[in-house]
Symmetry: C2
Subunit: 122 residues, 2 copies
């Protein structure tokens, strides 16, 4: 019964704000590289601004939290999770403020983050 | 210190998905009539579809959960909460399925709910 419920929730196009934690994040090759910890939502528009995402450390070692602009995550209905083109290399160069687990980003920081993830790699 | 943090979180334009519970809902006169229990988000677009909202029962008596289409909630930065034009009378006539606390609505139900709350009162 629990399995059926989980599978139906996974395939439903909607998700509850209190059930977001643990949603999988995959790389371009479909390899699971992280999980979503929370989404951060614009109060006025009701649009997701970015996702606080834990990368790596599935055995509890070396995991890192990064804030990822929403545009860099694409929901894949077959994978039941978000796919991203962001590489480990890129994550390593991310601005320091985006590694915070709890801080709500300012408009300026959000803009900086969007630009960082859309600029071509040097 | 706790007060300062709360006040700053209240006035920030962003909110974390795990901090949504308890956001206040006001009627057109600015009277607090309910609180948001959770938001339900479209996985693909990252837009809020509707809010599961508890109305009334602030003393633990007679509270009722209703799913409210996002378009019926307008964030008011002065009130630090959502304002809605929905009246108690309208809530009483709401479709049965919108009183469920946990079910994710189907596309058809969402459409029905949107129409119910935009139709003029009989």
């Amino acid at each position: 019964m629990a399995t059926i419920e989980t599978s139906s929730a996974l395939s439903h196009p909607l998700i509850e704000s209190d059930h977001i934690e643990g949603t999988a994040v995959f790389d371009v090759n479909g390899k699971r590289i992280g999980t979503i910890k929370r989404l951060v939502i614009e109060k006025v528009s009701g649009h997701v601004a970015y996702a606080v995402t834990t990368f790596g450390g599935f055995l509890g070692v070396g995991s890192e939290v990064h804030t990822i602009p929403w545009e860099q995550l694409h929901y894949d209905t077959a994978l039941h999770g978000y796919q991203t083109g962001i590489t480990e290399e890129r994550l390593r160069m991310a601005p320091e403020f985006s590694l915070s687990d709890t801080t709500l980003l300012s408009g300026h920081e959000r803009q900086q983050l969007r630009e960082f993830y859309t600029e071509p790699m040097p």
